[in-house]
């Protein structure tokens, strides 16, 4: 069923231009331009410590994500998964440790906005879209473009930008709802809209916090396909509880426990790991 992880993929991202789906999701656009990923690692986290009032949310955490990799992060509640995302996106500052995006961008020195602009996109656990705007407008705002005040005051959509929005609308299957207010969408549709907004942003690293929560089986299956087609040109880090979903997409799984990495490897390896069974699978 699942593609066996190929270790060399992490080091040398191979790009296979075949397949029209890749164009639709923007995979044909240059994703890694400007970012120095010489050593094939897009995200480097070393010895990260975060504590809240004495509670160690992250404890000497080390994590490396390769270019084009699709990494799943699993772990029991309170293992530090969301804090990890907060550290990467600049929402939480680590007490100590090293966090690099590519080889040169020090995430601990950048603001949330700078991090987002440099190419890290994030999907929240609770689907967060701009409820008062239409689906089309949501995608328009997310579009990769100049996001300064002056640019927004005079912005008009070019036909290429409109086409891109139409493409993404097609990809996330919300064409029929393009003029509907986002607040009126179903839960699953909001999840897809948020994923669509990430696609519009065209980030190099996508952080997805429980993307299939509240989705139907068909929607989950579709999401798995979508993520698999995104990987390689984009790097993905997915936090998920749904083991079936993890099994269907992941190259590589990291298990977090009490703020540090407990185990890492292919899903079968991880699932047979004694310590993982002990803390996570509860046996």
């Amino acid at each position: 069923m699942r593609a066996t992880p190929t270790p060399d993929l992490m080091l040398e991202p191979a790009f296979d231009p075949a397949g029209s789906a890749r164009d639709a999701i923007g995979a044909s656009q240059a994703a890694v331009q400007g970012l120095n990923v010489r050593h094939g690692t897009i995200l480097t986290l070393e010895d990260i410590n975060v504590s809240f009032d004495g509670f160690k949310a992250l404890n000497n955490l080390n994590l490396y994500i390769g270019v084009g990799e699709l990494r799943c992060i699993i772990g029991p509640n309170g293992a530090g998964k969301t804090t990890l995302m907060d550290v990467i996106t600049g929402k939480t500052r680590p007490d100590s440790g090293v966090a690099y995006f590519g080889e040169t961008l020090d995430l601990t020195q950048m603001s949330e906005v700078e991090i987002a602009q440099s190419g890290i996109g994030r999907k929240f656990q609770k689907p967060t879209v701009f409820e008062a705007l239409t689906v089309f407008e949501n995608l328009e705002l997310a579009q990769k473009t100049n996001k300064s005040v002056w640019a927004s005051l005079r912005a008009t959509l070019s036909s290429a930008q409109k086409e891109r929005i139409d493409e993404v609308l097609h990809t996330i299957k919300l064409e029929a709802a393009r003029n509907r207010q986002a607040g009126l969408l179903s839960h699953g549709q909001k999840q897809f809209l948020e994923i669509g907004m990430l696609l519009m942003q065209d980030p190099q690293l996508l952080l997805l916090d429980e993307p299939v929560a509240g989705m139907t089986d068909a929607e989950t299956e579709f999401t798995a396909e979508l993520f698999k087609s995104l990987a390689r040109r984009h790097s993905l880090m997915v936090v998920e509880h749904d083991m079936g979903f993890v099994g269907s997409i992941a190259d590589h799984v990291t298990v977090l426990h009490q703020g540090s990495v407990l185990a890492e490897g292919a899903l079968e390896e991880v699932q047979t790991n004694e310590r993982v069974i002990e803390v996570y699978l509860g046996r």
Partner: protein
């Protein structure tokens, strides 16, 4: 054989479509009528006093005053309705614009000498910040700069520290209260609790002359139309959509790569400047400015205008300002002691029953 009384789904959609088409036309028509009335008022004021069509100075001033308030309501709606920043200190920006204009009017009345209140305090020379206020041009700059710079500095620090929600409202409230206390002092040099009054001339013209009043009124109508156009352009631009996004999901917007600070600061300063301009037109028409304009209750009242009319729309705040102030003028003549109770009751009723304001009610009716 008879038509069903209950509208069938088809009839309903037809009705909805018809009203959707009728809606904009109807509101456009009403808007044009309102505009025609507003343009006719100053002309009718110019008629001789014995003509039965003549509009009295009282009426013209009252409507002019309400129009100034309508501009404040619109400005407040830009930050509150669109960007979600509830300011309870917009009266301050209004008063600052008013004081800037008042300084010029005081200099016009005083001629070469010192304004009357300074003579009363036996001051021998003007404080440094009064220099240049004899020039109308510099006064216009002050009208924009005083509220604009204050808003810029306050907004810069508030938005940098990510102050929002009720904390932001409380800080704006504290700001206007502090300014009021400052302006109450005689030593501040703005006439203490009497403020500025007894204006005589503006640009050399008699300020109570019919012609001057008519021109000031027309200037107010122009500013209101200009503000409406500006608001309409902003609301339709991508900037306006970013503001709405900011109001509903600021985190999402940041992770989309937008820096909310610049957006908030821009609309905040713009709104303050609009208030300042409204204040500058208010003072020569009403003939007085004093620190009570900065009292927190005035700013809260402005928020009530917006809430009553309908937040996040352009026409709503204008309606709200007109309705509340119209009622206020009537109440303060008929039952002066009950006005504040009526206002409070109105606010409670609107909050409970009309979350989208009068505009929301009209829209619902139209559907």
């Amino acid at each position: 054989m008879t038509m069903p009384l209950n509208p069938t789904p088809l009839n309903k959609t037809l009705l909805a479509r018809a009203s959707a088409r009728l809606g904009p036309q109807l509101s456009l028509g009403l808007g044009l009528i309102a505009l025609a009335v507003l343009l006719a008022l100053p002309l009718l004021h110019l008629l001789p006093a014995d003509n039965s069509w003549q509009v009295s100075a009282y009426t013209l001033t009252l409507v002019g005053k309400i129009l100034c308030y309508a501009i404040v309501a619109l400005a407040l709606d830009l930050v509150w309705g669109y960007a979600g920043l509830l300011s309870l200190g917009h009266g301050l920006f209004f008063a600052l614009g008013g004081y800037a204009m008042g300084m010029y009017l005081m200099r016009q009345s005083a001629g070469e000498g010192l304004p009357a209140f300074m003579q009363f305090l036996s001051w021998s020379q003007l404080p440094w910040y009064w220099s240049g206020t004899q020039s109308f041009l510099w006064t216009l700059c002050l009208v924009v700069l005083a509220p604009g710079l204050l808003a810029l500095v306050f907004g810069f620090f508030a938005f940098r520290s990510r102050i929002k929600g009720v904390y932001f409202s409380i800080m704006t409230q504290a700001l206007t209260f502090a300014a009021m206390l400052l302006f109450f002092r005689n030593e501040t040099g703005f006439g203490g609790n009497n403020g500025f009054t007894d204006f005589k001339r503006i640009l050399g013209f008699d300020i109570t002359a019919q012609g001057t009043r008519a021109v000031l009124f027309l200037a107010t109508v122009t500013l209101l139309l200009g503000s409406l156009y500006l608001g309409w352009k902003l609301a339709r631009s991508k900037f306006g959509r970013v503001l709405t996004a900011l109001r509903d999901a600021e985190n999402r917007l940041m992770f989309c790569g937008y820096d909310p600070r610049g957006y908030k600061l821009f609309i905040w300063v713009l709104s303050a400047v609009l208030c300042g301009l409204a204040g500058a037109l208010y003072v020569p028409q009403v003939g007085i400015i004093n620190p009570s304009e900065m009292s927190p209750t005035n700013s809260i009242e402005a928020a009530i205008w917006v809430a009553l009319g309908g937040r996040g729309t352009l026409i709503g705040p204008l309606l709200g300002a007109g309705l509340v102030n119209g009622m206020k003028s009537w109440f303060t003549v008929a039952f002066p002691e009950y006005w504040l109770f009526a206002l409070g009751l109105l606010f409670i009723l609107v909050t409970l029953l009309l979350p989208a304001g009068v505009i929301g009610l009209l829209k619902r009716k139209a559907q």
